[in-house]
Amino acid sequence: MNETNLLALILFSPALVAAVMLFLPREEKTLLRWAALLGSLVPLGLSVVLWFQFDKAQAGFQFQVQYAWYEALNSTFHLGVDGLSLTMVLLTTLLTPISILASFSITDRVKPYMILFLLLETGMLGVFLALDLLLFFVFWEIGLVPMYFLINQWGSEKGEREITKGWIVPARTYASFKFMIYTMAGSLGLLLAIQMIGVASGTYDLPRLYQTWPVMEELKNIPLSLSLSTVKAVAFWAFVIAFALKVPVWPFHTWLPDAHTEAPTAGSMILAGVLLKLGAYGFLRLVLPLYPAEAHRYAGALAFLATMAIIFGAFAAYGQKDFKRLVAYSSVNHMGFVVLGIAAAAYAAGTQDAVIALNGAVLQMFNHGLSAAGMFFLVGVIYERAHTRNLEDFGGLFPLVPVYGGILIFTSMASLGLPGLNGFVSEFLVVRGSWPILPLPTALSMLGLLFTGAYILKGIKHVLHGPTNTHWSGHITEINSREILVMAPLMVLILWIGVWPGWILNVINAAMNSLF
């Protein structure tokens, strides 16, 4: 294989499969499902190859390719991976086939569903692979469209939402619209800031911008005769808000519970598993290297938001009656640790503690991708059988579905941060790295962890324990083998990283050492 084009191949293979699927007959649902699944195994196989060919000891970007793309604007089609993007690429290519397998129960319009899913994968991979600011933005936005339609068309059919008095729309319409408009509005500042950087620097190439933009002394055409530092601070916040919306950081998180709750199961898996990581990735790939000074100055504010996300996310999750909403708020809680690690690293860039915090943050991104995808899938499994997600309607299901119960407890424990499973490793690293840098927010966040335990136990208690709700006997059947197959790779990785995180931390650590 010509390894120089490996990245382009990974990036476009899902889109190519989608293009081929356009020509398959829409009635052949089984064929379509298998085509999508097998098609999505191609990028997975290629990224495993990439993982092993990647030189872990070497810092900087590898497998770089650069083609002319929009010459007139000095923007090129520039791809490359370092340890950070490699980890995220692996996560994406892993979760996509799993989610597609999880979607085999979809019967309505299978063809467009699968095509959108594959296009979504290309969009997400593009963000992780792009080394050109304009190209990054292109892929950043492209991912929105398939996700919008997945929620809007295949989302849960129940539920209504009153916008104003008398104006009632289906909940999935509301949720998808909110998702789209929130993200687009958030990206608007990013778009403008990218344009400003491009105009000022004359290039969109990231490795070059890393060199020039942080030390840029002069800007032409500053509006309202603001000072350079003000302009940079505004641009910094434009980036931060766009990415904070996606992570999501409190108080920009309100789209997330709606989107998650209404999305189809596999949509939630990808949304929590990968899309939220795009925001955190934006912080690491763009905000920290492009705005080191501003990031240092505003690290306290960022840490404050992260702490709020951790604490409020946990409280909000505890307060939910809807199982899926509970898991959705848990994402706010867990992603808060990612941002906390980033904030700590921004404050003390270059120190050993900062590197530890960043390692924790990136590993937490990967881990949360595994456990959140698993949790959403398990919620989906029970919902497909019970047609309700109301925690109070369940109870005592353990005797009815022992295998499901075991898997649910295992995955919940990973999410809770039980030592020996993956969540513990990453949260420990974040806290270990942040503690010397930002003691107060870290201490508060650790209190938040207490409530993480509380809401997870609450979820398990309501679903599995207590007196058996006889209403369900005979209705709720055991998890089937396809569903176990979905969970198996996730559980293996959860355990593997929990027991021996070295294999993945090696890759991440090299990148984190050289990033700043």
Partner: protein, 490 residues
């Protein structure tokens, strides 16, 4: 001499149109096939011109120059450069797809196609003309059939009103520009209408500042500039589908292009002086047009006002007088032309079947016509400026150009992106998804194969340009370079 390809492109439609008139009125199918053949021929030639333009050489190519009325200094000169080659291609595309989706017109198709083709010749003529007199000559040829097309084949309720309004606006605009053009002719003292020579005259600054608004705004009326945009949504709505496609897709570009070609390129110092006014008005176009589109309840009016908003971006790009801004404006003219032709084709297909355009009465059409739904979604994403599609490729450099001149304007104009997204999403949700009413359930069928060909053609162009902007950007960039050289290589 080489094969006069541009003249062939310009005169193919009008010759075919006159030929069609000789057919007996009841031979409708022969009329349609002839029209299709002529449109395909013109398109093939314009594709050939587009791709065989020699980028390395630059400048005007495929030039033909004949004396027409030497005593008055009028000659027939045509040529293409990087700015107008995409527009010639655009006209070819819209003409062919317009014929395809008008296949079902049963009311006097012979006359309909004849007028449509006369219009097409006029449009081709304006884009390639290098002689000021010829430009006006073709311009009027393009405007006049519009009146007949709208008032005869248009929407019964408003067609007389809209046709009248449109024609009067455009005539007023062209008269104002003509005054400016004559001023240039007399002031130059060269006794020539040749624009290539007029560009070299170097009019005095006072002269340029005084006459620039006449020329620019006269043409810009046809480009839909605020506050003279009012004719355009009415005209769009009243026109039959193919004419709307031409109208929004090509005719508005005619105004913008002529404003650039005659106003900015011949009177560059005037443009420097007046650019702030243009920028202000264009910003109003962009933002106000988007807001007005958002509150419309008639499907076609939404698209009509969205054109006002998007043409504002073209004007905004012009007003920056920077490389990026002009590049973006050039691509936006093409991209918006294809996109809006697609939009109006979709609206026409929906209206032909539902007999209503009230957004609240429509719903669930994706079940009945999935191809149309997908086409509209693609067009809608283009209009939101979604990356990966042509709208982004065009709008991004416009905004970059604005950043270089006045960052505040970039920030204000960017608001329109979110507004556009909200009304496009609303329409997609209401018209194509949602419940399908019983009335439509039984009476509505899918579109014809020809309609699908037209939709796919337009979508493929939008996607190709978005994914790989290099199919157009180097060409337009070379055209921009020659404009900038008029500003002293700025």
């Amino acid at each position: 001499m080489d094969f006069p390809v541009l003249s062939v492109i310009v005169f193919t439609p009008i010759v075919a149109g006159l030929l069609i008139l000789l057919f007996p009125a009841e031979r409708k199918n022969e009329v349609r096939v002839t029209a299709l053949a002529a449109a395909a021929f013109a398109l093939i030639l314009s594709v050939w011109v587009y791709f065989s333009y020699d980028l390395a050489a630059g400048g005007y190519q495929f030039v033909e120059n004949y004396n027409w009325l030497p005593a008055l200094g009028i000659s027939y000169i045509v040529g293409v450069d990087g700015m107008n080659a995409p527009l010639v291609l655009l006209t070819g595309v819209v003409m062919l797809t317009g014929v395809l989706i008008s296949w079902g017109i049963d009311d006097r198709p012979r006359e309909f196609f004849a007028f449509l083709f006369i219009l097409a010749s006029g449009v081709f003529g304006v884009f390639v003309a290098q002689d000021l007199f010829m430009l006006f000559f073709f311009y009027e040829i393009a405007v006049f059939p519009m009146y007949l097309l709208i008032s005869i084949w248009g929407w019964v309720k408003t067609r007389e009103y809209a046709a009248m309004k449109l024609t009067l606006y455009l005539f007023i605009g062209s008269v104002i520009s003509l005054v400016g053009a004559l001023a240039m002719y007399f002031n130059s003292g060269l006794n020539t209408f040749n624009m290539l020579e007029l560009a070299r005259v170097g009019f005095s600054k006072d002269f340029q500042v005084f006459w620039f608004p006449f020329v620019f705004f006269g043409f810009a009326i046809l480009g839909g500039i605020f506050p003279f945009h009012n004719w355009s949504p009415d005209g769009h709505v009243a026109a039959p589908t193919a004419v709307s496609m031409f109208h929004a897709g090509v005719l508005m570009k005619l105004g913008a292009f002529a404003a650039l070609r005659v106003g900015i390129m011949l009177l560059p110092e005037g443009a420097q002086t007046w650019k702030w006014l243009i920028m202000g008005l264009a910003t109003v176009n962009v933002v106000y047009g988007a807001f007005i589109a958002m509150v419309q309840t008639d499907f076609k009016y939404v698209i009509g006002f969205s054109s006002v908003s998007h043409m504002g971006l073209v004007m905004l790009g012009f007003s920056t007088l920077t490389r990026d801004g002009l590049l973006g404006a050039g691509i936006q003219m093409f991209s918006h032309g294809v996109m809006t032709a697609l939009f109006f084709a979709v609206v026409g297909m929906v209206y032909d079947r539902a007999h209503t355009r009230e957004i609240n009465e429509l719903g669930g059409f994706s079940k009945k016509m999935p191809w149309v739904a997908v086409a509209f979604i693609i067009g809608g994403l283009v209009s939101m400026g979604m990356p990966g599609l042509s709208g982004f490729v065009a709008e991004f450099p416009i905004f970059m150009g604005v950043w270089q001149v006045q960052p505040i304007v970039a920030i204000i104009a960017a608001i329109s992106i979110v507004i556009t997204a909200s009304y496009i999403i609303k329409i997609i949700g209401k018209v194509f998804f949602g419940p399908l009413s019983d009335e439509f359930e039984h009476h509505i069928g899918d579109v014809t194969a020809l309609d699908k060909v037209a939709l796919v053609t337009l979508c493929v162009i939008l996607i190709t340009l978005g994914v790989y902007p290099m199919v157009m950007s180097p060409l337009v960039a070379s055209g921009v370079q020659s404009i900038l050289s008029l500003f002293g290589g700025a």
